[in-house]
């Protein structure tokens, strides 16, 4: 039986290419050098599949084996019959080699240790292959499985049931199937956000609206991690292009040096920032004047503020993770299941004023002991691993809580005796009146009962976490100079990312002159680097003529027609297909 593995991927078709390439690299380094990657669009028939396969495996160029127009008189040794027997012969030839080599030659891969490394064939997009091609290939290769050890990897985007719909029974019975599932794309997104945004080592951060736009595109449209990354790169470019103070958005050491060497114009830019203005208003009047006029004083203050911002970020991230640990134990996840949802909630406003926060605190007051203990231990780990001495007190306090919880365990046995005795009272024989009285008394005592030690401790823990949140999770808008690090113009991002082709075409057709300019740049770019011609403002006459001819051809084909608005303007006729 042939050996076969299935990889279940997600719907994000654009990301699969990278994944498969990295997979083949890993396989090449560790297991076997014979790997072929096949795509459905290259293999409409079994002949093309074999050609592609052999071409990739043998790293040579195979002429197309067409029988109509070839001269059979000359046989060139480059033309190889693309059939299974030639593949088997090649394989035998290649795997016999290591025996004859001397051991002094370099051993590049561990596949030398294998007598016959398997040949791996990867079908990148399984759903697009036609069933006949797959069936024929599997039947053929299963006949020769002894001579050519083959492992097939199918990349499946939907669900493994498609194996049953693509391959009939007699074919799938030839396969030995194992299922591998890659991480879901949402996990990938969380990892990326974790590594990029939730690290203090990268000063650039996204504002809440921008982050929401990117996440929405991911979740609502295409699940594509590459598109998310491109969007993120676009944000970076926009930020550094449009915001002049972003020159200070870098590592702290460099930022301080640059702050020292700011020019007067740049200092003016800083003074214009709204957060800076708020800061200035909160100062004493002499300092205000100094800040607004004296550049050197401004630079000093800027350096101090940058340092503050840096420290703020570090603390923010540690406390954020601690809060996430805290809320991940709660049922129904009021503040979101993943840390990115919590991050979005904390970015936009003061999280302790939101309803979800209230409800999560209430739920936390009802957690049981083992959950609380685990949670505290995880928080301790987070704070211990954060740099700086800021959280030493916090770690002490949390460890204290933990020891108190442990002490409670020992005391718990003593408390049990008290409740047992009250049970015994109830079991004595009494008449109805006495029974009623005893039950009422018990209820009273329960209401006014003092909270047990465990409950008091629980309250303390929750209050402490609350205080940490209020202290450290101040949203970034309240900090001075946050515009340096945060990019928040979501409208620009939306314009660029959510391409609306109809709108674009509409605006273009209403003003053909703009269209003409675009046309000329495209044409000149295609014709080669005529740098001199490109720099001239005036549009070349020939290109102008070509444009007019193209427009009239489109008119002839019925795609556009002259609108009544102006002489030059045309309107689009057909709207289908965009």
């Amino acid at each position: 039986m042939a050996s076969d593995q299935i990889r279940n991927k997600g719907v994000n078709v654009t990301d699969h290419d990278l994944t498969f390439r990295s997979l083949s690299e890993v396989l090449q380094n560790n297991i076997t050098p014979y790997i072929a990657l096949l795509e459905a669009k290259d293999c409409p028939g079994i002949k093309n599949l074999m050609q592609k396969l052999m071409g990739q495996l043998m790293n040579c160029y195979i002429d197309v084996d067409s029988s109509e127009d070839e001269d059979y008189v000359q046989v060139s040794h480059n033309r190889i019959r693309c059939s299974m027997t030639s593949l088997i012969n090649w394989y035998e030839h290649v795997t016999k080699k290591p025996d004859s080599e001397t051991p002094s030659k370099k051993r590049t891969s561990s596949s030398r240790h294998w007598q016959s490394p398997p040949v791996v064939v990867v079908f990148k997009d399984m759903e697009s292959f036609s069933t006949k091609v797959l069936q024929d290939f599997i039947v053929i290769s299963s006949q020769h499985i002894h001579e050519l050890p083959l492992v097939l990897i199918f990349g499946i985007a939907t669900s493994p049931m498609i194996i049953h719909s693509l391959l009939p029974h007699f074919v799938s019975s030839l396969l030995c199937i194992e299922l591998f599932q890659s991480l879901s794309c949402k996990d990938h997104l969380s990892t990326i956000i974790d590594k990029l945004l939730l690290r203090a080592s990268f000063p650039f951060k996204l504002g809440e609206k921008v982050l929401q736009v990117l996440i929405n595109i991911f979740l609502y449209h295409d699940f594509s991690v590459q598109n998310f990354i491109k969007g993120f790169q676009l944000c970076i470019v926009e930020h550094f292009c449009s915001q002049p103070v972003s020159v200070l958005c870098c590592q702290l050491v460099d930022a301080k040096k640059r702050a020292d060497s700011l020019s007067h114009d740049q200092c003016e830019n800083i003074r214009k920032l709204p957060s800076f203005r708020r800061y200035v208003e909160s100062q004493v009047s002499e300092k205000q004047i100094a800040l607004l006029t004296v550049d050197t004083y401004l630079k000093e203050i800027t350096q101090k503020l940058l340092e503050d911002l840096h420290v703020y970020h570090e603390n923010y991230l540690s406390v954020l993770r601690c809060l996430h640990v805290f809320t991940s134990f709660l049922p129904k996840y009021p503040l979101g299941k993943q840390i990115r949802e919590l991050y979005c909630a904390c970015l936009e406003n003061q999280v302790w004023e939101t309803e979800e926060y209230e409800s999560s605190l209430q739920l936390a007051r009802m957690l049981n002991k083992s959950d609380l203990v685990t949670m505290l231990q995880q928080c301790v780990e987070i704070f211990v691993s954060s740099s700086g001495k800021e959280f030493d007190n916090t770690v002490e306090k949390l460890k204290e809580f933990l020891t108190q919880f442990q002490k409670l365990e020992e005391e718990a046995f003593q408390e049990q005796d008290v409740s047992v005795s009250s049970q015994k009272e109830l079991q004595k024989k009494t008449d109805l009146y006495h029974l009623q009285k005893t039950l009422l008394e018990l209820k009273e005592s329960r209401r006014s009962k003092k909270l047990t030690k465990f409950e008091m401790l629980r309250f303390e823990v929750v209050d402490y976490i609350d205080s940490l949140v209020r202290n450290y999770l101040v949203p970034a808008n309240h900090k001075t100079l946050h515009e340096i690090m945060y990019f928040n113009t979501a409208s620009v991002l939306r314009e660029h990312l959510n391409a609306a082709p109809r709108i674009a075409l509409h605006t273009a057709l209403n003003n053909p002159y703009r269209y003409l300019k675009a046309f000329s740049t495209v044409v000149m770019g295609a014709e080669g680097p005529n740098a001199d011609a490109a720099s001239s403002d005036q549009v070349d006459d020939i290109i102008h003529a070509r444009f007019i001819r193209a427009v009239s051809e489109l008119e002839l084909l019925g795609f556009i027609k002259p609108s009544k608005q102006k002489t030059d303007h045309v309107a689009r006729l057909t709207w289908g297909g965009c």
Binding site: L219, N498, G576
Partner: protein
Amino acid sequence: ILPCESDFPSIFIYGHTSSGKTYVMQTLLNTLQLPHVFVNCVEYFTSRLLLEEILMQLQSCCSEREQTSHVHCDTFNDFVRLFKQAVVSRELEDQTLYIVLDRAEQLREMEANILPAFLRLQELTDRNVTVVLLSEIVWELFRPSIGCFEPFTLYFPDYSIGHLQKILSQNHPPEYSADFYAAYINILLGVFYMVCRDLKELQHLAALNFSKYCEPVVRGEANERDTRKLWKNIEPHLKKAMHTVYLREISSSQWESLQRDDGEPGQLKGLSAHTHVELPYYSKFLLIAAYLASYNPVRTDKRFFLKHHGKIRKTNFMKKHEKTSNHLLGPKPFPLDRLLAILYSIVDNRVAPTANIFSQITSLVTLQLLSMVGHNDQLDGPRYKCTVSLDFIRAIAR
């Protein structure tokens, strides 16, 4: 089949899957040491490859030489000439040569002259050669429209339960006695014969379940003759296996490792457990809208999706055709604009017509959840058809 085949220039053998055609032919020819050429038509998918392969096998047929030089053969004419030469050089003139073509239904896909030429090969080459065609399809579907030489047809019937028992019992592992294994096969056939008569599948099932059957003997709880205990042990196991008889849920190596670890069979999920497909938010709505567009007739759109609709008057035409449910007729194609209109009305918040939506439609087509109908050069508007079932849509709509 008797060796005096020179009377029959061509033989056509057909029978259901795994009724032993290939196996019998090969064993017979090998045991009787008859000169033969065995070719699988699926593997040599063009006529050139097929003919060259026959000639190459012929070269190495009766000689001990391993080196075979590459032979060129394009047309059947060349093949006949080269074949005559080869037979002469191998001194096979007094013996009958057999050419066996397995999976002969592929011959119909090749050039039109291949099949009739093979059937008349004895006449064309004037030598003692018999062509045997093995296939699962009856001869009536093979007959070319221009007529040909009728071969002698032979039918291989399916195995009966007695035969299956005998065949399967021969594979018993050496540690256990033949009786023990025969009893096991008896039980297995009793359970599975109603559902499955395919020999290969039964062999696979026998191999998979035997270790579970032997468990009580291995653990020392029962000896080989305690049929009741063995049956009680294996019965629930076989019942569960019935559900997934033809589906290759998990590979046999995974199964064996599972048996060794003695884990819960429920932990290892087979292929059919993974039916859920993750789709982005708008894609789900697109698919639902496509389903609605495929299965609802156009005139009901106005009624379902607009706020103020009028009543639809039933005409005589509609009354006649009301009976056939659209679900039975299958999905109908719909244009792109209709899909977008339905989408905008079922999604609660405003959907901007960005390029993302259009690219999602294309990726749904790539995943074969939608299919494109019509030609690619129809610029007015592509038409699509929804290819998923109601259960799938229900699962997504959750």
